[in-house]
Symmetry: C2
Subunit: 325 residues, 2 copies
């Protein structure tokens, strides 16, 4: 019997709760506990366990690796929050805000090491392969973050450049998780590659949906203010798509509105969203999300497992995309 | 034929020169190249290769791990320089000074990942064991750095606390390197443990010598100003020893001189050194260095290898301690 997604999440949380974290030095390890108990959606470990579950009825061998990808993900948040000067994370003060930059740097380092320590408890025969996938993924996540920071200083970012950046920054960690799960479950090389691609496409759809909701979501359902990306002048799929379709005058508005001191926040948001609508950006983004999502699901049809084994993974993928405007 | 230390260093440098580092994103990887080509003494990889060479004539299998410990060491420097606000490293601008904190954080992260990628090329049968030693060592180095930062805000640091901190911050990386080299060379568990202890003692002697030279060295030979630690009010072996022997009045002088705005730098240095002399701190430090160093060499006598095989390692250890006042 394949476990349900709720059962998988429960076994992950109970494995995580047993994580053996030293007590001292307190300022090194308390932020790790704080960050890991902040909840979050556990997307990466769930994807890892679900991919493993396609091939193995018992996914316990994948729990250390599942914990490793979640710890690694939280490490990236600690360091990203310093670089982005982000004071809030999941509705609570970020580690950076609560303890300062030095603690966030060093605790983050300890978390990355912790992730590798966990990973090492992967069955030994699979360890070299799993380490390769993990380290390649980890390096690419850093590359994505660097491109994201580089984009802040670039006058024009193409849609292709943007997609490449979010593939590295967001998708690769999901894709590596899926691939590691598949390897531990005993998948063929070909299925491992397919599940990697599946998660790349799913991750792109997920990030684009995130971009879309930030400008066109409903505040009550999202639990945050709409328009944050616009006010920060952030490069998003909406912005780079709009820039690629705008005329010179519109581009100028898109480029400068966020820093126009004569406008209120609401006026800035309204002005940019008006242009997004004029340039058909909302519909184009929805279309791209749908293309990516369908492509992801299509890949699942080609796996060498009975179709009914993919039910839980499909359910998970749909849950991811079900966030309402 | 065992290679000479010069030959070992040359094979390490030529292996390092072949390190395959991506070109883009430039701000992520250029600091890695910059940092790794900054020279340094390559103590950790040398120790790793020398420990391996005690048991194996061909140390090539240890080259990836030797590179891994050097990359890891340089990663710690990148992040430490941010936390310590250090603008100069090996006589050149630090990565932090040259590119800023964000680049130093993220490049540092990429370097740690690079270290694990290198480590993975250790012979597969030994990989789990080598990863355990490496990750434990890496975590302890972070713990040492955290204690070091914690000490800045503590009114009194005991000699025992100080020794524990430098064991973690400095010795453990040398000790882990020696242990990894021994494992790859095929040493027994017992010899691995002994070489670990050897390098812990050597590392302590090395750090204490560093502390001593900073206050009592000769500027021309050290190539830096004497008294930097005193002016920063840093906890060093000299300071914690002096504090443990001082009366209330002397303690007050030791605690406050560095921040006394009425004194010139030279006066501050002279005042603290006068107390160090009065409290016999220079001699006590020399004694401790000598105890630790002799203990390290003594351990080498107990290894299960012919005595003449340890010649190169002894030579290396003596070279480390030979830095003149």
């Amino acid at each position: 019997m394949m476990p349900t997604n709720e059962q998988l999440l429960a076994s992950f949380e109970s494995h995580l709760a047993q994580l053996d974290v030293p007590i001292e030095p307190e300022r090194l390890y308390a932020p790790l506990i704080y960050s890991m108990s902040g909840g979050g959606k556990r997307l990466r470990p769930m994807l890892l366990l679900l991919a493993c579950g396609l091939y193995a009825d018992d996914v316990r061998a994948a729990l250390p690796a599942a914990t490793a990808v979640e710890v690694f993900h939280n490490f990236t948040l600690l360091h990203d929050d310093i670089m982005d000067n982000a004071l809030v994370r999941r509705g609570k003060p970020s580690v950076y805000a609560k303890w300062g930059a030095n603690v966030a740097i060093l605790s983050g380092d300890a978390m990355m090491i912790c992730a590798y320590r966990l990973l090492r408890h992967t069955p030994e025969a699979l360890l070299p392969r799993v380490m390769d996938i993990f380290s390649k993924m980890a390096a690419e996540v850093c590359e994505g973050q660097q491109y994201d920071m580089d984009f802040e200083h670039r006058p024009k970012v193409s849609v292709v450049d943007y997609m490449h950046m979010i593939e590295l920054k967001t998708s690769v960690l999901l894709a590596g998780s899926a691939a590691i799960g598949a390897v531990i479950g005993g998948a063929s090389e070909e299925d491992v590659r397919k599940l990697y691609r599946f998660a790349v496409e799913l991750g792109l759809a997920f990030q684009l949906q995130d971009d879309l909701l930030d400008s066109f979501g409903a505040e009550e359902e999202l639990g945050k203010r709409i328009g944050g990306d616009i006010l920060e002048g952030k490069q998003t799929y909406l912005m780079v798509t709009a820039m690629s379709r705008a005329d010179e005058e519109q581009r100028d508005v898109l480029r400068t509105t966020y820093k126009d001191a004569t406008l209120s926040d609401d006026e800035k948001i309204a002005r940019v969203k008006e242009l997004y609508r004029a340039l058909d950006v909302e519909r184009l983004t929805e279309q791209q999300i749908s293309v990516r999502f369908e492509r992801a699901l299509g890949i699942l049809d080609t796996l060498s497992v009975p179709a009914d084994r993919t039910t839980h993974l499909r359910e998970f993928a749909k849950g991811l995309m079900g966030r309402k405007k």
